[in-house]
Amino acid sequence: MSPLANLPMIRLLVAKDWDLFQRQLAAYVGAGILALALIGSAKPWTFYLGSLLLLVVLVAAACFAISTSLLTERKERTLGFVMSLPVTPLDFYLAKIAGNLVTFGVPFVVLVGGTAGVILSTPVPDGLLVWSLLVFGHVLLAHAVSLSVAMAVESEGWNTFAMIASMVLVNPFIMMLGQIPAIAGPMRGEAIVWSAEAIAILSTQVLLSAAVIGFTGWVHCRKRAFY
């Protein structure tokens, strides 16, 4: 059977997750708009509060969207009910990936676009663009790792560890970027410099994210139990 032969069921599973998590998503979106409005109020304290809130929302959307849609399903033993529907493990996997594309992908793309827009259209040095994209690349990779651990590993402890560790690693990653002259150097200038190092890191992040997600699908479809 071709992977998409069961498309109506995949759609049904995505719609089901949407119903289950739309309250949570609505809260994220509301908080995100509130954060932007605080940033837009152009007072130092609202700016910092808004930036903090925005960061919290992105991390929440990145982590908790996974945790609610995968871990809760397992913990509350609703997975058996879902898998008893006419679906294959591959359908289930594709539905979760598609759902994550919305819950994580949309805010992520908006934030990347927004950040690029702010850097390019304001007095902030344009050289910061490369650095910011690398940091977003890390968030993407962290999300892919968390998603794949949630999909493949049942232990809640390991999942929490994967989520927190991968997100916390952004600090050493930023420090590491600071140690690479080809990336740290042009950060404060107006020129956008795509050094070989920057291209190598970004493509590694993107390819690794795709590989991790693909590998997870392969592992998931080889699981022996789904309940």
Partner: protein, 402 residues
């Protein structure tokens, strides 16, 4: 707001019942016409800014010939023009959600609001900037803004101007309000709506202005346009309240009708408040000395805004509940006219700046020329082209009426 949780789109479609006045499409003419009027009033408002003494230091097309009478009129209009528009937008959005669900509403608004915003934003910004730069180097009697632009253009390392959504900010806020409506609805907004409609609508006359005054106290008076690409808190609160009001009114005409006894008093009362506002404004004129409105200015604006908006919505039911081919044409064209008018208006008014005409002639001429150009472009570029689906009338897209 209607319930949304988990219900498939079609589950809450309200079947059309014959004789059900609430769902009779003919009953929506007044809201349609009101929206068109609010949009067309924008052309008048923006055209008149050039002849407002108050706006001399801030508006690019500010003209040597101006009159205080202009200020007296346009700042009154300013207080309810966009609020009325947002009430109508909230009303139609709620109507569409009730009939076809949030999914359908978002799909429709993507096409009618987001796509035009993305398509026309760069064009509008380019046109405004090009005509202004050209005027800065050619106009003999430049406005303070044009003089500043000329100096700025002469600088070698001039920083880029801050990003702006110009007069299309309302599309950006509409999208935010549609999303927020879903957020509120998903988090239990139906209960809030039911609770509010359980109160007497006369409460709106006092409670709403008191809710809005803090928002208006955050910005200068008269309140500016929220053109920043980041959402402004005060604008979310101020215009969002009117959007929510429109949402609440949808399908609850009887509730609104309970306001009938006070409605005739709203216009004279608002005029009186506006006289007070003008007096206060002369004591605290906008500028670096008064970056934010005083509380009295904020309160006066808030009351006038709410009262006049309610008067307009009620008045529309009495005066605008009919449709002629001409009205229909204007209603269809009004969205495009509003999108296109500002760049055209700037070109026209930059041309008029060096003429020694009376402001009244300049105002009339600029409005007439702008409307003529916009209508002609509507006829040529929109009405018979695929653009009509995006920014044209509702004839090919009945959904926009909800």
């Amino acid at each position: 707001m209607p319930p949304a949780h988990g219900a498939p789109d079609d589950a809450r479609r309200v079947p059309h019942r014959p004789g059900d006045a609430m769902h009779d499409p003919s009953r929506m003419h007044h809201m349609d016409n009101l929206r068109a009027l609010a949009m067309l009033a924008g052309v008048l408002f923006h055209a008149a800014l050039a002849y407002s003494p108050l706006m001399q230091p801030f508006f690019p097309t500010a003209d040597r010939s101006n009159a205080a009478a202009v200020d007296a009129v346009i700042w009154f209009l300013h207080l309810f023009r966009m609020p009325v528009f947002f009430v109508v937008a909230g009303y139609f959005a709620a109507r569409m959600v009730q009939r076809r669900g949030f999914g359908a509403m978002f799909r429709d608004r993507m096409l009618r609001i987001l796509l035009p915003f993305v398509l026309f934003m760069p064009l509008v910004l380019w046109a405004l900037s090009a005509s202004t730069l050209h005027a800065a180097s050619t106009v003999a009697h430049p406005s303070p803004v044009l003089q500043w632009v000329a100096q700025f253009a002469a600088m070698d390392d001039a920083p880029p101007s801050p990003p702006s959504t110009a007069h299309l900010w309302f599309l950006y806020y509409l999208m935010l309000f549609y999303v927020l409506a879903w957020v509120v609805d998903t988090l239990g907004g139906a209960r809030i709506g039911a609770f509010l409609r359980g109160l007497h609508p006369a409460g709106l006359l006092v409670a709403l202005p008191l809710l809005l005054a803090p928002a208006l106290a955050m910005v200068s008076a008269p309140h500016p346009a929220p053109e920043s690409p980041l959402p402004q808190w005060w604008a979310l609160q101020f215009f969002g309240a009117f959007f929510a009001l429109g949402w609440l009114l949808q399908g609850h005409d009887a509730w609104f009708a309970r306001l009938r006894p006070v409605l005739p008093w709203l216009v004279p009362a608002s005029l009186a408040l506006h006289a007070l506002f003008l007096h206060q404004l002369s004591l605290h004129p906008p500028g670096p000395a008064n970056p934010a409105a005083t509380w009295s200015l904020a309160l006066l604006q808030a009351f006038t805004s709410v009262w006049m908006t309610l008067a307009c919505v009620a008045g529309a039911r009495l005066l605008l509940a009919w449709r002629t081919p001409l009205l229909r044409y204007l209603a269809d064209a009004s969205y495009w006219i509003y999108l296109a008018h500002l760049p055209v208006l700037f070109v026209v008014q930059y041309r008029l700046m060096d003429l020694d005409w009376h402001w009244g002639w300049k105002l009339s001429a600029s409005i007439a020329a702008t409307l003529a150009a916009c209508l002609a472009s509507y006829e040529l570029l929109v009405r018979r082209t695929p653009l009509r689906r995006l920014v044209g009338g509702a004839a090919t897209s009945p959904s926009v009426r909800g």
